[in-house]
């Protein structure tokens, strides 16, 4: 019970990240994956991967802006679940869709720019998933952080992948693009510093006013 109370947010992340897979399997079991199930599996795994990737990137700004420290430990599981869905997405493409037909797969990667950027994004997050363990974090030391900044390249590529594959209506991928762009802007050192400074000043102001108010808190006394 105590464990649950302490880790409820983490539990929520695990459960929430696995729900799309559960729904996918359930719908597959009931034959409810549309009349074009392979495409549906491709869409769902891709969309889930993108959402989880964005959520993992939102944690740092949430802490920066609102001081929600408790979301920071969610970055690793959310990022790894995103990678898990990316793997399902890629496997669906090369196996279910193209049946490991290397000629067609090569043609797709060379010919379709959205496949190329999607595949590049996968290659960028692959080393991040491998080095996500504490052991690798220790071994790589300072370089770990620089390496994991690759995600800030992978996320825009994932959005570009989405943008280039939709037929005509680009509003949805643009919405994801706006979120990722905001996250990236908040990450730039200058903005980050000014936010931190602003928050510190506000905190100081808050503590000083409460401190000042204490003696006068009850005028009747």
């Amino acid at each position: 019970m105590l464990y649950l109370r302490k880790n409820w947010l983490r539990m929520l992340a695990h459960v929430g990240a696995l729900i799309p897979l559960a729904i996918l399997l359930w719908d597959a079991h009931l034959d409810r994956l549309t009349f074009n199930p392979i495409q549906e599996i491709t869409f769902r795994t891709g969309k889930t991967a993108l959402v989880l990737l964005v959520l993992s990137l939102v944690c740092t700004p949430l802490n920066l802006l609102l001081g929600l420290k408790q979301v920071l430990p969610l970055r690793r599981p959310l990022g790894l679940y995103a990678f898990f869905y990316v793997c399902l997405h890629l496997l669906t493409f090369v196996y279910l869709d193209y049946g490991f037909d290397l000629g067609l797969i090569r043609e797709a990667i060379v010919e379709k720019r959205y496949v190329l950027v999607g595949f590049s994004a996968f290659l960028l997050v692959l080393p991040l998933a491998i080095t996500s363990t504490k052991g690798w974090q220790r071994r790589l030391g300072k370089r770990w952080k620089s390496l994991h900044k690759l995600v800030y390249l992978a996320a825009p590529l994932a959005v570009l992948h989405f943008l280039w594959l939709v037929k005509a209506d680009i509003r949805e991928p643009l919405a994801y693009g706006a979120v990722v762009a905001t996250i990236l802007i908040l990450r730039t050192p200058a903005i980050r510093r000014s936010i931190t400074r602003f928050r510190q000043r506000r905190q100081q102001a808050a503590t000083s006013t409460t401190a000042a108010r204490v003696p006068h808190s009850d005028p009747r006394s």
Partner: protein, 314 residues
Amino acid sequence: MSSIRSSEITPEHIYLSRRSFMRSVGTLVAGAFVLNACGEAASTGPAPTPPVPGTTTAGTDELSDPLTAFEAVIGYNNYYEFSTDKEAVAPLSRDFTTSPWTVEVGGLVNKPKTYAMEDLLQRFPQEERVYRLRCVEGWSMVIPWMGFPINKLLNEVEPTSKAKYVRFETVERPEEMPGQKDGYYRWPYVEGLRLDEAMNDLAILATGLYGKALLPQNGAPLRLTVPWKYGFKSIKSIVKIDLVEEPPTSLWMAAGPSEYGFYANVNPDVPHPRWSQSSERRIGDSGRRPTLLFNGYSDQVAGLYSGMDLRTNY
């Protein structure tokens, strides 16, 4: 020296069904002459029996590919006037009014005329045509349509010598078609054919499928079906047909000129930035199959494009 891999040997049930298909094609060849559907294709002699596009037997097309399940044909529809979600189209279009319905045929013709739907059904005998439908998105179906060649209608209105193209327009009725309230696309849906393409016997105005009248999600009550072109050319719920001098700009040409050309012929050698055009997935199949030039109707339509560079005229 070449040996036959076991994977290349046709399984018995397919072999047998092909045999029965071949047998029935024999009887159909005579029928094809009567229908005058594909006299040329049928005139090359007894063996091997040439495929007869458009004819059906034992639930297959002339390449002996089975018909796509009725449920899929009426449940998986690209019809943006209702929804961009293919499976939402059927429920959203359930109450779409298809009667009364008139089709205005005019433009560069000697005898412009507005036809009531009943007129069209009465004047032009309905034929069954089993056609492959290849969507630009890389999926395909085999559908037994009912309809009549559009050349019969065009001959009746008599295009003038200035007429070079046929322009088709879908009904604009945002109160019944929620997708038309979305200003993202330039409604109404417009499509076009070159006059000689429209005169080709394979091009039909479809009024039904699987022996029943068209349902709204399939473009009721009247739609175009041009099987050698990507599906979006086969415009639905037509209210206006005009003979014109210049190639009409279709909705998709306006939405993405670099991706959608006027011709939009099925062509595995002309790539699209998003979808594989060299292969396709038949709805109901799990794997992919190679896409055929002109969707397998080269014998009937390749002549329309002789001397044209199909890569620039995409």
